[in-house]
């Protein structure tokens, strides 16, 4: 992961991406117990996110550095990295408000627990609901905080359904 953190910082420094933040399971593990994941999800900000070839500069840069594509990801050391351009206001805000964390001396930007939970709420698969529950159980985020953020991003109906399904009987 240190290798990936260094690559992301180099990409920013060289102007390939304007911003980034790790999210998904890798970010979740900052707050919860270890979980198994197939890749590291990275939100990125690029100049022209509407273009179909939006990821070409990222792939070309990685190739120049010796990192090869593997399926839809790019293998960086032990981790396949999946680059996802921030595609709506929620993911853009999650990236822009990310924490700067430290991986054995290398800085890395990571989406905060409240945004991780609300992104998971918006995606809405079983494993995303498990992520929300794990984040709440670790006391990294409260139901109230998720509710406030869900309201902001027009996800309040999803939150009410989640509460009814998973929290009301606890």
């Amino acid at each position: 992961m240190k290798e990936l953190a260094q690559l992301l910082n180099d990409m920013m420094g060289d102007g390939i991406i304007k911003n980034y933040a790790v999210f998904g399971a890798v970010a979740q593990m900052r707050y919860t117990e270890a979980v198994v994941t197939m890749d590291a999800d990275i939100l990125i900000a690029v100049d022209d996110s509407e273009s179909l070839a939006v990821l070409s500069p990222v792939y070309n840069y990685c190739k120049e550095k010796g990192y090869q594509p593997e399926g839809e990801a790019i293998r960086v050391g032990e981790w396949p990295a999946q680059f996802i351009p921030a595609f709506d206001q929620l993911t853009k805000d999650a990236m822009n408000n990310a924490d700067e964390s430290d991986l054995d001396g290398i800085a890395i930007r990571v989406v905060k627990a409240d945004y991780l939970a609300v992104i998971a709420l918006s995606v809405g698969r079983v494993k995303d609901f498990m992520r929300i529950l794990a984040l709440m159980e670790s006391e990294s985020v409260s139901g109230k905080e998720i509710q406030e953020l869900a309201q902001k991003y027009n996800l309040i109906d999803q939150w009410i359904r989640f509460e009814k399904r998973f929290l009301n009987e606890l």
Partner: protein
């Protein structure tokens, strides 16, 4: 309390405390090692075509 159960609970408590003390770096290393093992067991490389497409597809639909 039964001595064996008491010992078991103490051991479990100690184990949970140790897990809570794990750093993010340690948890990431553990996760990567488990993924490698799973891939080795399944005898194939990672498959990004199923779950991944669904994930990104869901997100794209939401923005439309």
């Amino acid at each position: 309390m039964n001595y064996n159960i008491k010992k078991l609970l103490e051991r479990q408590d100690c184990w949970q405390k140790n897990r809570k003390a794990e750093s993010w770096v340690e948890k990431l290393a553990k996760s990567a090692a488990t993924r490698k093992t799973l891939v080795a067991f399944s005898g194939r490389e990672l498959n990004y075509q199923g779950d991944r497409k669904q994930k990104t597809g869901d997100r794209k639909q939401e923005t439309e």
